[in-house]
Point group: C2
Chain length 360, copies 2
């Protein structure tokens, strides 16, 4: 449990934008960063001391990767559990496999959340086509079918409405296991980003208010327009989940705030999260540095917000081609991911806009 030495090497599984921003934050603290990523020429690999390009099930490559690092973390939860378990036997893995086991399958995740007395949207398992009609009968015809694993940014989800073609829908369910979630009439979506250290210390960032469009996060805004009581409840729920997961590092908990004032957990992300990107320009220590500190076994840092208010806006697809006017705009801070192709629906970068800057 001794903190990682100055200049040690941190391995990151996954080479996308989250891995890239984790790598940049780790480098600021003097660490060497190694990346493991199946796709060649990944964004994180281009800012790392070493990048291993190999499939997740390449045991030799995984072992070689582990041999050259002091500790391992991941940028996303879709690394196969077998690969993680293999690595965890070779080097410290932070967070541990438990954080993944409890969150990567939506059914297990929701059962875990409910078991702690924390509410979610109503849900039932849909193991195959035959389970669809009973699910609709139980929760009503307005809801969402979600794959139990591997969904993100609205992928692996289907909206169900009263006039849906149930027979047609059912045929789409054959290859995977699903859950059916009753639709929640929510007023707002908020999220809590926190970090938990190796010694169990927890530091929260301020609660963030999120707006999604077509299943992809569009903006995050701080401070969230909710009462301090609700904000404290959300933080307490997130801390309860982190402690039960024995999580080490940053994690995010997304909530629906319903019109009657209830907080329902939508999803746990056992990692740095898009809705925490505002911390890069709103706080002294951002979510990425906080995660690297936790992974290194360092004490967590000062997550104080210094911006009075800030909005993060994702740059999707061609949005990345910012105008000179935007680049020159006061209070606008640009973060781009170095992705080669601006495909539609792809997260290419984000901008943080500070709304009212003090000390002018």
């Amino acid at each position: 449990m001794t903190p990682l030495k100055i200049g040690a090497t941190i391995g990151i599984l996954g080479g996308g934008q989250l891995g890239r921003m984790l790598g940049l934050a780790g480098a600021q603290l003097g660490f060497d960063i190694h990346i493991f990523e199946p796709e060649p020429d990944c964004p994180a690999g281009r800012v790392a001391a070493r990048c291993v390009t190999a499939p997740w099930d390449d045991r030799a490559a995984l072992a070689d990767f582990a041999a050259q690092v002091d500790v391992i973390t991941f940028e996303f939860e879709n690394v196969p559990l077998e690969s993680l378990a293999f690595l965890a036997a070779l080097k410290p893995l932070r967070p541990g496999t438990q954080s993944l086991t409890l969150t990567k399958d939506r059914l297990i995740e929701k059962q875990f959340i409910n078991s702690l007395g924390i509410a979610t949207a109503p849900f039932v398992a849909v193991d195959g086509p035959d389970d669809l009609r009973p699910a609709l009968a139980a929760l009503g015809p307005n809801g969402i079918l979600k794959t139990r694993q591997l969904g993100y940014d609205g992928k692996g989800q289907m909206r169900v409405t009263p006039n849906a073609d149930i027979g047609g829908l059912a045929t789409l369910l054959a290859d995977q296991v699903w859950i059916y979630e009753g639709l929640v009439d929510f007023e707002r979506e908020v999220s809590v980003i926190l970090a938990r250290s190796l010694t169990g210390e927890i530091v929260h960032f301020d609660v963030t208010e999120n707006v999604h469009q077509r299943g992809i996060l569009n903006t995050s805004r701080v401070p969230a327009a909710i009462s301090s009581d609700l904000s404290e409840r959300a933080k307490t729920h997130a801390a309860t989940l982190a402690v039960q997961m024995e999580h080490v590092g940053v994690m995010a908990v997304e909530f629906f705030l319903t019109r009657d004032g209830s907080l329902l957990v939508n999803e746990i992300a056992p990692r740095v999260h898009n809705s925490g990107h505002w911390t890069q320009d709103g706080c002294h220590i951002c979510q990425f540095q906080q995660h690297m500190r936790a992974v290194a076994g360092w004490p967590l840092g000062d997550a104080t917000r210094h911006a009075p208010a800030i909005v993060m806006t994702n740059l999707i697809g061609e949005d990345v081609n910012l105008s000179s006017d935007t680049l020159a705009q006061e209070g606008v801070f640009v973060h781009l991911y170095g992705k080669r192709e601006a495909r539609a629906g792809r997260k290419m970068g984000h901008i943080n806009t500070v709304i009212d800057t003090p000390h002018k």
Copy 2:
């Protein structure tokens, strides 16, 4: 003069901590970074997409480096001018060779500064041992001998006092050309960091107050304890120099403030500067991002200071082994350079301490 495209490649000459922090800032903006550095395993190379390890006079390596980047900049002024001129013929070099020509030789630099009506300490050229006694006779026996080129962090300097062994000193002067500077009885040292864009736009950071120990910068503090009139004069002088140099990018001007209220330029650094490291935690856009924006031909960013007051402290040699208490201290932000050996006198990192954080 069109701005560099999103995802273009910026080459940096020099792979030390300044190159590393420039690289990290460029990566945040989505650029690929290539480093050219004679020393293997350099700090900047470990956060770059490519690192060329070759001597400064290896024309083939320089040409290959230039071929793979869109624009070239440098982290320090001791790159040989011939190498820079060679590269400038192949790709845009920002700042250009003129910024180097006017600042890398102390005699030329001071003559340039004086030619613009801006004061320096009194100086005379000392081309060899025979020039020493006349120099002392002209400016008095209290002063500093400095090599005209390649000095930094107090290296290449000798203090002269009334009881110095002049004959012994003279024998040390044979191999190089020097200048002799009359000692200035200064009250404070301050510096101005500014950026000048490709279109001539100039953005200043706040004036910084610096304390050196044994020739190495120890602390920088903002705001400097000087009048706003003096602060404006310092900024105006720095802007005059930048315009005359046709500088593109960040540069620093160090001043002595004498007891009678005069501002004397001590030195121009045509690059990012140690006394601007506070901007990383005191401003929304730090000197490193500002430089990369200028080099990319982008508009300069918002350099507003958001911290009410901030002190940068260099970590020299073993200082880098920070205690857990320091790592955990509120308002303390750590930057380490990934250097392998903590040799005495070597800059290993720095910490920025925000003195009074608003919005707690």
